[in-house]
Symmetry: C2
Subunit: 243 residues, 2 copies
C-alpha cells in the first residue's frame, strides 16, 4: 500500500512462550517496531511472553493503561479516558506505519477475543493493510492443563465475563451446557454465588496463571481465598458423560 507499513495483530498465546505459533514467531522476528499494552508499573504480560522472539534492534512502543480498577468501568470519565488512550495508541502506531515501518502489536491470547487490539483495529484497519494472527486462548490453555473435556457432541459453550451482575451470570450459567468465566479477579465471591444458584459448583474448576510456572489448578470449592489474580478463570466442563 503505497509505501506505508503493515499492521500485524499478533496473538502471543496464554503465557507459555512455547505456545506461540510459528507464524507469530516469524512475524515478530521480522518486525521493525513492536507495540504492546501494559498496566502502570508492570512489564506487560504480552511483552514478557514475546521477549525471546523480538529482533534485537526493534523499536518499541509501550502503551500504559490510564486506569485499571480505580474508577467504575461504566462511568463516562472511564469511557472518555479510555477512548483518548486508544486514540493516542492508534496515532503513535499510525506514525510508524506512515513512515513505512511495519508494526507488530502484541496481544495476549487471541487478538479479537476480548483484546485491546480491537480498539486499535477499529481506528486503523480501514486505513492500513492489516493482518491478524490468531493465538491460543487462555481458556484453551487452562482446560488443556486441567485435562477437562469441555464440549462434546452438540454441547454449547458459553464464555462469560465475571464482571457481569450476579443475576445475569446465574441466568446464563443455568442455560449453559459448558461454560468459561473470564475476568475473575475480585468478582470471585459473586461468581461463586452465581455458580451455586445454577447448581454448577460441583463441576467448577479454578485455574490461575494457566501454562505459566505460577499455575494453580483446583476445584473452585477448594480455592481458599475470595480474590483471584487477574490471570485466572473458572471452567465448567460439559456434564455429558463419556461414551
Amino acid at each position: 500500500m503505497n509505501g506505508k507499513g503493515r499492521l500485524f495483530g499478533i496473538g502471543v498465546g496464554p503465557g507459555d512462550p512455547e505456545l506461540l505459533t510459528l507464524k507469530a514467531v516469524r512475524l515478530l522476528r521480522a518486525a521493525p517496531v513492536v507495540a504492546w499494552f501494559a498496566k502502570s508499573g508492570k512489564a506487560g504480560h504480552a511483552r514478557r511472553i514475546a521477549d525471546g522472539y523480538l529482533a534485537p534492534d526493534a523499536g518499541e512502543l509501550r502503551f500504559t493503561y490510564p486506569y485499571t480498577t480505580e474508577i467504575p468501568k461504566r462511568s463516562d470519565v472511564y469511557r472518555e479516558a479510555m477512548a483518548a488512550f486508544y486514540d493516542d495508541a492508534a496515532n503513535r502506531i499510525a506514525a510508524a506505519l506512515d513512515g513505512g515501518r511495519d508494526v507488530a502489536l502484541l496481544c495476549e491470547g487471541d487478538p479479537l477475543f476480548y483484546g485491546s487490539f480491537m480498539y486499535v483495529n477499529d481506528r486503523l484497519a480501514a486505513r492500513y493493510d492489516t493482518e491478524i494472527v490468531p493465538g491460543v486462548t487462555a481458556m484453551a490453555a487452562c482446560w488443556s492443563r486441567a485435562g477437562l473435556p469441555m464440549t462434546r457432541g452438540d454441547d454449547c459453550l458459553s464464555v462469560l465475563a465475571g464482571t457481569l451482575d450476579e443475576d445475569t451470570l446465574a441466568g446464563r450459567l443455568q442455560s449453559a451446557d459448558a461454560a468459561v468465566v473470564m475476568k475473575v479477579g475480585r468478582h470471585l465471591p459473586k461468581i461463586r454465588r452465581a455458580l451455586d444458584r445454577a447448581g454448577l459448583t460441583g463441576r467448577a474448576i479454578y485455574v490461575e496463571n494457566g501454562s505459566t510456572p505460577d499455575e494453580r489448578i483446583m476445584r473452585l470449592s477448594d480455592m481458599p481465598i475470595d480474590e483471584a489474580p487477574y490471570f485466572s478463570l473458572v471452567l465448567v466442563p460439559t456434564g455429558r458423560a463419556a461414551s
Copy 2:
C-alpha cells in the same frame, strides 16, 4: 511411569501449517508414533496439517471413522458403533504406550474443544501419563481472517452446534451477545432460519476453509448455496459499537 510411553494430545490448529505452536512442532518431531482420525477415503485433515513436522521414521496409526452422516447420530446403532470405534483406537494406542513408545494424537484445532481426542482421553488418561497441547481453534482463525472484533467488554460468546434443532438454535442466538455456529454443513438452511428469527442475519458472516488456500469469506446472506462443506462456520460478532 514404569517404562510406559506418554500420550500427547496435540492441537494442530485450523488448517494453515504455520498456525501450529512451537510446542506442538517440537513434540511432533520427537514422536515415535503418530496417530490420527480420518473419514473413509480421505487423507485426514489433521494428518495433512502436520505433514511437514513428523519424524521420517515415525510409526503411524490411522483410525477411520465408521460413519459420517449415513445414520442418525442419536441412534443406538450410531452410539454403539462409535463407542466400539473409540475402544479400538484407545486399545491400539495403549499397545504402543505399553511397548514404551510415546504416541502423539493429532487433533484439528484444539484437542478438548469438540475433538475426537476426548474419547481417547476418557479411556486412557487414568492409566497413562498424558499431556495436552492446546491449539488455535478454527473459530479464532476464521474471525482473524475476517477481521471481526468478536467480543468487547463484558460481552458473552455463545458457541453453538449447527446440529441443534431450529428452536434451540434460535433461542440461544436470541440471548447471545456474540455467537459462533460450528458444524454447519447440511444444516445451513436451518441455521439461516434460526438467525433470521433471532434478528441476526445482518451480522452473520460465513467462513469456509478458514486459513487454508480454499478459504472463502462472505456475508451469510451472500452465500448462494444451501449446503456448506464440513470446514465452515458462521460468525456473529458483537453488536456493541467501537469506542
